[in-house]
Symmetry: C2
Subunit: 174 residues, 2 copies
Amino acid sequence: MNFTIEKSIEILERTPEVLEAMLQNISVEWTENNEGGETWSAFDVLGHLVHGEKTDWIPRVEIILSDRQDKTFEPFERFAQFEESKGKTLPELLDEFKRLRKKNIDVLRSKKLTGKNLEEKGVHPAFGEVTLAQLLATWTVHDLDHVAQISRVMAKQYKEEVGPWIDYLRILNL
Amino acid sequence: MNFTIEKSIEILERTPEVLEAMLQNISVEWTENNEGGETWSAFDVLGHLVHGEKTDWIPRVEIILSDRQDKTFEPFERFAQFEESKGKTLPELLDEFKRLRKKNIDVLRSKKLTGKNLEEKGVHPAFGEVTLAQLLATWTVHDLDHVAQISRVMAKQYKEEVGPWIDYLRILNL
């Protein structure tokens, strides 16, 4: 399947609703437990998504489209949510994510990106040149990755409870 | 986290809404493509979930609670959806799933299961004795497994489009 902005937005605009359907008003045992050790809970993942809306995706789009000499992205802070989410409730994070995402999609649409824009490049601090299309495809896949992660983290809360079915449930063995 | 019927229902009742948020009115390229070979598309997974509502979960609950001598479950037909979904549209499957799931949760609630009921046993054709609690926990995790699968199948449609980011997106490497 080839990249298009509209197909990407189809995913990006759905994610806040998907997370709301999964997490709103559910018991905290589903959302505050993680997979053990330093792994993330559903609450932590949501905080990470909020942080990305503020500092990652659209700021990188702006860098690529700018006329700066140096188009190197700021490294993304993968653990910022542990500080930023402190004192917030899950419904607050869901609302914040929904609001920021809507605004960011509006910004994206307002740029009326052309095929030529999509080939423009920035520099990832770890692996070098990437195109705007690759950045937007990654934003899209990143959403789906974290929806799958949240499903997995929640599923694992019942790891002991499924008994011998454990071998049939791929998600419990990832 | 310990099994309870109410925490299980929290997941079970959300799944139709989650799938609706993910899939309703999205481009067919997201829902009809699979991961290659004999793998399933999002549409196929949805058909599998519909089939489970009809033939798997509640019928197995009934077998466990019955006073039959032989409480061996019927094997679950994992490929039935390829026939059953033929000619149906994705919105039709979403509606059918929502309706069947609601009915099945009503049936589950109407049984007013006790702690003693939850320890009653049936026989899985492949691995033997299982309790009612294990069956209900598996129904719950099975939902989350397939939500994660749908996310993964959709994400993989952009596998080539993310360029060098592929190594950072776990979901593309499963």
